[in-house]
Subunit: 254 residues, 2 copies
């Protein structure tokens, strides 16, 4: 039975999509079957894997709002063990449409169990907000992986994020845990980076991954070629960081 | 009569808050009276100016949802000509509460005219989404200033953003224009930066500010001291970039 993990943080631009694509790709290269769910109306996970979002006719929007069959909506990627449940522009209006739905936070948790057994891991890339899409992801998940950019504003939002996780645990999904906290875009030359990293380690203690993802331009170039870093530049620091993260992620799960 | 400008882009982490704080501070230093409205539940503009969001009892939430008096909610900052309409954690639930309000996109445009004459410029820092808070900002504004990070995903979201602006112009606010497009976190040493900058200039032509904001660590350090860059490190490239932007912004307005 596959484990479902949300990748969430309402702060924008902290590396949610980059982690969703690259962690799942490294696991797929190690032949763990993975499904990546793009729950962001920006559809960056979909385009970062090389799909033109304008050409995606059936997306997570149809599954969530129009009751379309989830298995018919999943597509294959360049990696044999990585599938994608894509997003597109239609998802922009989904949060407002979900408000009036029955048990509006539980729509996704009524869908993912149908395909859970086909995968070892299911990752959900969340939008930068704590609205209904992110609540749906957390309600459907076993755990939440929290990317944190090593910058000042990253610390500000943590208490809101933990508050939301606590509320979900209390009212919607008792089993939800924190999978881990990942430091991203780390630059060892900068005081700010080291200070924020120390603060995060003090705040989250053992939950912080030993693997840190460094700022690495090859990581930000890869999506423009529609490839995860492991296929774009396998010998880059970025690839090494995400491969180590995948190893640590698997080890923690044992 | 003050000009109202939304600072918006649904892509996260592109420099909306950084531009809101630093452009308005540079204008305030030049003695233009400015009001900064923090419309993001993360309240980064509020904390970036040195206010502890937990201590903010009256915020934009009370004005939008509870009908509180806007003049009683505005607070002074370290800069004589800069006032702030602060945000706090309460705003997290506002989008869901707004859905059932009467003419839900027009709530803010019913509030800002009351104080418009006291300021030369009113800037609204928007959250990273195209939901009801950003729609309220655009409906209440004369124009939209679009910060764009010089990275691949930044280009992806532009058509959604322009689509939303067009819909607002058609149904909610005929006078809305694009104030300008600002390239942020530019690094001249990176191919990716130069490529994206060229693409944006081709896409937006004259609307792109000649002033480019370079990646500069002093800019990302300033909010941890609760200060705009002009007060934190007046001789940094960051200060120079935002002062030039303020000059260009004023010149365009003539
Ligand atoms: N380790 C890294 N080194 C360099 N650039 C990075 C790194 N991680 C992410 N980036 C770049 O930083 C930007 C933000 O990352 P990303 O889009 O993954 O964040 P996000 O949290 O998904 O953003 P959003 O909040 O908009 O969903 C992207 O342009 C990405 O390419
Ligand atoms: N020119 C710059 N040089 C270096 N760092 C920058 C620059 N501009 C912004 N930053 C940093 O990048 C991060 C993202 O910027 P900011 O928070 O202003 O973006 P935003 O668009 O407001 O994000 P959100 O989508 O979460 O509201 C912050 O940590 C900020 O300090
Ligand atoms: Mg993303
Ligand atoms: Mg912001």
């Amino acid at each position: 039975m596959g484990k479902i993990i949300s990748i969430a943080n309402q702060k924008g631009g902290v590396g949610k999509t980059t982690t969703a694509i690259n962690l799942s790709s490294c696991l797929a290269v190690a032949e763990y079957p993975v499904l990546l769910v793009d729950l962001d109306p920006q559809a960056n996970t979909t385009s970062g894997l090389g799909f033109e979002t304008k050409k995606i006719k059936k997306s997570i929007y149809n599954v969530l709002i129009k009751g379309a069959n989830v298995e018919d909506t999943i597509i294959n990627t360049d990696l044999k063990y990585l599938d994608l449940l894509p997003s597109n522009q239609d998802l922009v209006g989904a949060e407002i449409e979900l408000v009036s739905a029955m048990s509006r936070e539980k729509v996704l948790s009524g869908i993912l169990p149908k395909i859970r057994d086909k995968y070892k891991y299911i990752f959900i890339d969340c939008p930068p907000s704590l609205g209904l899409l992110t609540l749906n992801a957390m309600t459907a998940s076993d755990s939440v992986l929290i990317p944190i950019q090593t910058e000042y504003y990253a610390l500000e939002g943590l208490s809101q994020l933990l508050n939301t996780i606590r509320l979900v645990q209390k009212h919607l999904n008792k089993k939800l845990e924190i999978e881990g906290v990942l430091l991203t875009m780390f630059d060892n030359r900068l005081n700010l980076s080291r200070q924020v990293a120390d603060d995060v380690k003090r705040f989250f203690d053992k939950k912080v991954y030993k693997t840190i993802v460094n700022r690495n331009v090859r990581i930000s170039e890869a999506p423009s070629f529609g490839k995860p870093i492991i296929l774009y530049d396998a010998v880059s620091t970025g690839s090494d960081n995400y491969m180590r993260l995948a190893e640590e992620f698997i080890k923690n799960g044992r």
